[in-house]
């Protein structure tokens, strides 16, 4: 997967926000949040913006593209 993310760290910094809480805020299932966090699923642009918005950061603070 060429898209890495900082969701785990951001959840920790947001007072150990649970995956379920994040899922609820962005309108997805907990399983999808787990898949995104583990880099198994690359979310749509809309979902990526929603995740960034949930943490109050920009999209590039959450996701970064790595050449590999």
């Amino acid at each position: 997967m060429a898209i890495a993310n900082e969701i785990r760290r951001l959840r920790f910094e947001a007072g150990e926000m649970t995956q379920a809480a994040l899922a609820e805020r962005i309108g997805m299932t907990r399983q999808t949040v787990i898949a995104i966090e583990q880099g198994k699923y690359a979310p749509s642009l809309e979902a990526a913006f929603k995740i960034a918005d949930a943490f109050g950061v920009t999209i590039t603070d959450v996701f970064r593209w790595t050449k590999d």
């Binding site: 309108g27 997805m28 299932t29 907990r30 399983q31 999808t32 787990i34 898949a35 583990q38 198994k40 699923y41 979310p43 749509s44 979902a47």
Partner: protein
């Protein structure tokens, strides 16, 4: 396990059990003279059993995770569904083409009709299996 993965397991189990029993019973009691009546009778019983089993298991799954059961599929679940549908349509198309060939070389119409039904069941099983694999992988 998500509600939609449970639904895929329910589809796999109910289709496998009901139509597995249907085709085994049909093969055991096959008689050219009563083939049509036998097929229709067994099919009605199979459809009723399928609806009953799938409904009961789905209600049970919904009771254990009511929030997810009422929520629409998210983008990853929709993608998994689409990929599974595509594999399922390949399976169905392949079976249909083979059965057209079987009809052209003179296979019995009732037999081909039952094999068409088997093709639809195979397509459903492929779909459910593809969904389960995708959910298990987390992709």
């Amino acid at each position: 396990m998500s509600f939609r993965e449970k639904s895929a397991w329910i589809a796999l189990t109910s289709y496998g059990l009901v139509f597995g029993a249907y085709f085994i019973l049909l093969a055991w009691s096959w008689d050219e003279r009563y083939g049509l009546g036998l097929s229709i009778g067994l099919m009605v019983a199979a459809v009723v059993a399928l609806i009953a089993i799938a409904a009961a298991l789905t209600i049970l799954a919904a009771i254990t995770s009511p929030k997810e059961a009422n929520a629409p599929a998210d983008e990853r679940e929709q993608l998994i569904d689409l990929k599974a549908e595509r594999l399922s349509s390949y399976a169905l198309s392949t079976c249909v083409v083979l059965l057209i060939g079987a009809l052209l070389i003179g296979w019995n119409g009732l037999l081909v009709a039952n094999l068409l039904l088997a093709s639809m069941v195979i397509a459903e099983l492929v779909k459910a299996l593809a969904q389960i694999i995708a959910y298990r992988r987390g992709a």
